[in-house]
Assembly symmetry: D2
Homo-oligomer: 134 residues x 4
């Protein structure tokens, strides 16, 4: 498993009139988490784009366990549990201190970033991933 | 089944550098859809809040079929297929003209909007829902 | 003066824990207003992009008079008071019923949408604008 | 002058189809900056709310000098140049490395966070500010 942890501060902008983080915002936090995981692998997402790829989300899910609040310093845990193929699955858990707020996942498809057609992942990316999953 | 259809214009604000609608934005469109469905039932969400209830999302899912783009006049179809109980499930399909862009659902829990503790839905709401599902 | 009026429903997503519309959201409403104004002139913003132009914001201002709230059906009034040149200024007033919530403006620069360098506005756009300001 | 500097990573969520940061997002970055400035003074914004105050924005301005991009690690510089009174002005500069992307300001009013009516700032806040401006 590949894993990263990122601290992320909740803005007023992320809250809603219920006084808690608006549900859709967690999907932005998921993005922050996966950016971080790829950067930590020395394969930042921008590198994928520079090589002509993109990784659009084809499925997203979130379960909301407990309300997050303004100013909390969230811990976004991002996990790649399986070697990617033409698809890549990432799982997320977001904590405030030791309390799990949400868990979820996103599934991505490798595409050509001009045509948006599905393609095989870049070879150097796969070599890197395989080295991590050994 | 209770169903509503809402037209919603895509802003530049909703797009990302891939040139398409950013994935998390669809969950805001889902919200626009469910507001619309409740308003059409003459039971707008604000009425729930005025009565001391809230309906936080406890689970959200979206499958992305095709990229949506700036300036499209999306059609957000919101469906309640089952009589709500302590939980309420809504399903969504978002179309650009005849093309299905995304489909998904949200599951909500009735809570007291002060304590955020789960409660039974308001009686008049249930009477109304039952009249629609007969 | 060229003027347009657009009705826009406030989502829960636009509110914050103060129970009102988050201040930065009004700049998205301004965008909705200017899209509407251009569309009403039969010169939608997408047409500008198709012709190789873009209109990035170079200055934005908003004065907040009164708090907007969830579910209000705002009226976004967008006004072009002066003939555009290399720059275009738009002014906005957003109302809930007869109450002015915010007023503001944005100043835009015509640029080549590949190089992002400033350029003169398209000739057919200027002819159209001149016909409106006669 | 009171000043803080905060590093803030640009998400894909913040970009638009022009490939740059969407203009309204900078106002969220301003919020991140002012949260940081208040926290560094040991008077976090939440403390103001706990004492019954809020600090809504009554005026906001931004000048856009250069386009910001995905994945940049922005430096948000927030400055309080004048001792606050019933109003508080904050100025912002956002840099990518040494390049100034935007500059702007927000003006806030102290209000009672129940009634949203203007009030004098809390005394301990003013004592703290005065000690900084000596």
């Amino acid at each position: 498993m590949i894993k990263s942890e990122l601290l992320y501060r909740v803005l007023y902008a992320h809250t809603d009139m219920m006084g808690v983080i608006y549900y859709a915002k967690y999907f932005e936090y998921f993005e922050a988490g996966r950016n971080d995981l790829l950067r930590n692998l020395d394969y930042p997402y921008l590198l994928l784009e520079e090589k002509g790829y993109a990784l659009p989300v084809i499925e997203a899910h979130c379960t909301f366990h407990k309300a997050g609040k303004y100013d909390q310093l969230l811990r976004i845990v991002t996990m790649m549990k399986d070697l990617p193929s033409v698809r890549l699955k990432l799982e997320y858990e977001i904590y405030n201190e030791e309390t799990l707020l949400v868990s979820g996942y996103t599934i991505h498809s490798f595409v050509n970033n001009k045509t948006l057609k599905p393609v095989r992942p870049p070879e150097d990316f796969m070599i890197l991933m395989k080295s991590k999953f050994k």
